[in-house]
């Protein structure tokens, strides 16, 4: 299966600090590929190299079979790019923004209407509104329309969901999945770990390095240690108590529950759960509920990061 993006040992430094350190990855044609990591991980730097905006210090990258350095101009015609913070002209209207980007690529809104319609139709009622006056969700849709208007062969979106509310984020991923179903290759970066399962495959990146690449579902089994979810009313008290357990490797809040990871790789989670529940009850947390769970992407990310609990 052909790869639309091939990155090999890519490195880039700024003022002596490595923003990217030997990054390698592949994105298959027609894939919805997610790059997940916190601020400063190197997501934007990687995307800027892929979109020919930055030169790498070492390594190579090919997009759609073209070299990002040597074939710069040809690539630029074929990539649809949406940088972080949307990069729209806030003093131009929705329609003016879109027609500008269309014209730069030698086309018009009318010519491309059918293709961008699923997205553009949602903001078309606001065609005359200044882009600066749009809500976060609408800016997303406009940014996406502008990136799509010239019929790109690949979409590169840098943190399109950052700072946007949960509803708009969900809708946006629905739109991306629909585009992927239509055959478009999409590379997206995000700091939100829970968006990983909306992607076909995901690369976890931190501190300029790729931690792991796989489908969202495949990460769990790699975890290698028992993981328990603990619920109860006195969450903070339980947190401290769990940390005091002799074999506790890490304890973190995870939404409504606490995630307890045990040091012993071969322990049976099913047997471990009632043991921990008992320990908590003895410590005075009578309503503690403990169950074994499968690790999610965030659990895996945190263990790969190597942070101390």
């Amino acid at each position: 299966m052909p790869s639309d993006v091939v990155v090999r040992d890519l490195s880039r430094r700024f003022d002596g600090v490595a923003a990217l350190d030997g990054v390698s990855l592949d994105v298959r044609a027609g894939e919805l590929f997610g790059l997940i990591g916190p601020d400063g991980a190197g997501k934007t730097t990687l995307f800027r190299i892929l979109t020919t905006l930055l030169l790498p210090d070492e390594g190579s990258a090919e997009v759609l079979g073209l070299d990002v350095v040597a074939d710069m101009w040809e690539l630029r015609r074929r990539i649809g790019y949406m940088p972080g913070h949307f990069s729209l002209y806030t003093d131009l209207s929705v329609e003016e923004n879109l027609s500008f980007f269309a014209s730069v690529f030698g086309t018009t809104i009318a010519a491309q209407y059918d293709r961008i319609a699923p997205i553009y139709r949602q903001i078309e009622p606001f065609a005359d509104r200044r882009a600066g006056a749009l809500s976060g969700g609408m800016k997303q849709k406009l940014g996406l329309s502008c990136a799509l208007v010239h019929e790109p062969d690949i979409l590169v979106l840098d943190e399109p969901t950052t700072g946007v509310d949960a509803v708009s984020r969900r809708e946006f991923w629905d739109m991306l999945q629909a585009l992927r179903d239509g055959g478009l290759t999409i590379v997206v970066s995000t700091p939100y770990m829970d968006e990983a399962d909306r992607c076909d495959r995901v690369a976890l990146i931190d501190d300029g390095r790729i931690l792991r690449i796989d489908t969202a579902a495949a990460f769990g089994p790699e975890y290698g240690r028992p993981l328990l979810a603990v619920r109860g009313s006195d969450r903070y008290g339980m947190l401290l108590a769990l940390r005091r357990l002799p074999d506790a490797e890490s304890v973190y809040p995870f939404g409504a529950a606490l995630h307890y990871t045990d040091r012993r790789a071969d322990a049976d989670p099913g047997a471990l759960a009632p043991q921990v529940a008992g320990a908590l009850a003895a410590a005075g947390f009578a309503d503690a509920e403990v169950e074994a769970i499968d690790p999610g992407i965030e659990d895996v990310f945190m263990s790969l990061m190597g942070g101390t609990p």
């Binding site: 930055l54 790019y81 730069v104």
Partner: protein
Amino acid sequence: MSDVTGALLGFVRKETRHILRDRQTLFVLLMLPLVQVLLFGFVIRTDVENVRVGFVVPASDAATGELIALFRGSDLFTPVGTWPTAAPLPDLFERGAIDQVVMFAPGFADDLGRGGARLFVVTDASDPNTGAAMRTYAESLIREYAGQGAADLTLVSRPGGGPGTLAGTSGIETRVRIRFDPALESRNLFVPGLIALVLTIVSALMTSIAITREKERGTMEVLLVSPLRPWQIIVGKVAPYLVLAFVNVLTALGAAWLAFGVPFRGSVTLLLLESLLFIIVSLALGVFISTRAESQRAAMLAAIAGLLLPSTLLSGMIFPIGSMPGWLRPFTNVVPATWFIEIARGIMLKGVGLAYLWQETLILTLMAVILTTASVRAFDARLS
């Protein structure tokens, strides 16, 4: 109460820290006034020096010799030649080769002995600052020669221009003709400088801000990733300002002519073409500044400190170049406005054409070509 002062002091300390740590702005804020003071010191001269004076002497005699010797001996004048007739003069004035000429009537010494001699002093007043001064110097030198105390002499000058005469009880009657600007209306003379100033602001300052604003906003990224080439982005950014600047030239000229009655002796078309040339130079400078500046504020500072200020101080717009110290004068040649002002003054006030101004035009053209090439090259097709 000490809470309030404590908080205030803490805040003042913070503000001081901000200023001290912003090295670039600090440099400009400290160096700029210093440079300004130094430049102003050297550049502001209310006196005029090195007036290039010529003499028309149909017949030499002792008196002409003595008067000419007085001019020669004065530090203020630099004699450039003596001719028997006034024929070469118009051309010399037009070329800007001469500032002033003293014309003797034949039989000067005899007339003097008989109690009434006449001199004709013609001064190039196309530079507003120097015209009046040169005239006064010449007059005082002549008075000195005539041996009259100032109280005995009256200068008769006709309102609205025309030759003024020095009438004295005995001695020399001088007609002083101020050439090119009979009424010495300094308003007229400032217009070329003003046009240059306005064009520099609109073209260089605004263009550099427009491009860096795109960078700050983040939309530059998207433009760069598009098929748009650097030259297309530059032309697109610059074109509206070119039109704007041109409209400004028309407005300024229109206002000068209608509201102030500024004379326009030369070809309007030529002036507009030269203005266009100067606009292109300024635009290129604006683009060049924007390629180096990361923020709008930096672009503005660079444009003001690096372009506007030198243009105002060194172009001859306000302070005459002739009066600047020798070491400073070569720098004036680097300022594009210097050449444009020469050209504009020549066309508007002297009424000369390309034949006389081809050198200055050539220099401006060269500047335009060099700067445009440099700025397109400097405009990175990538983020750095």
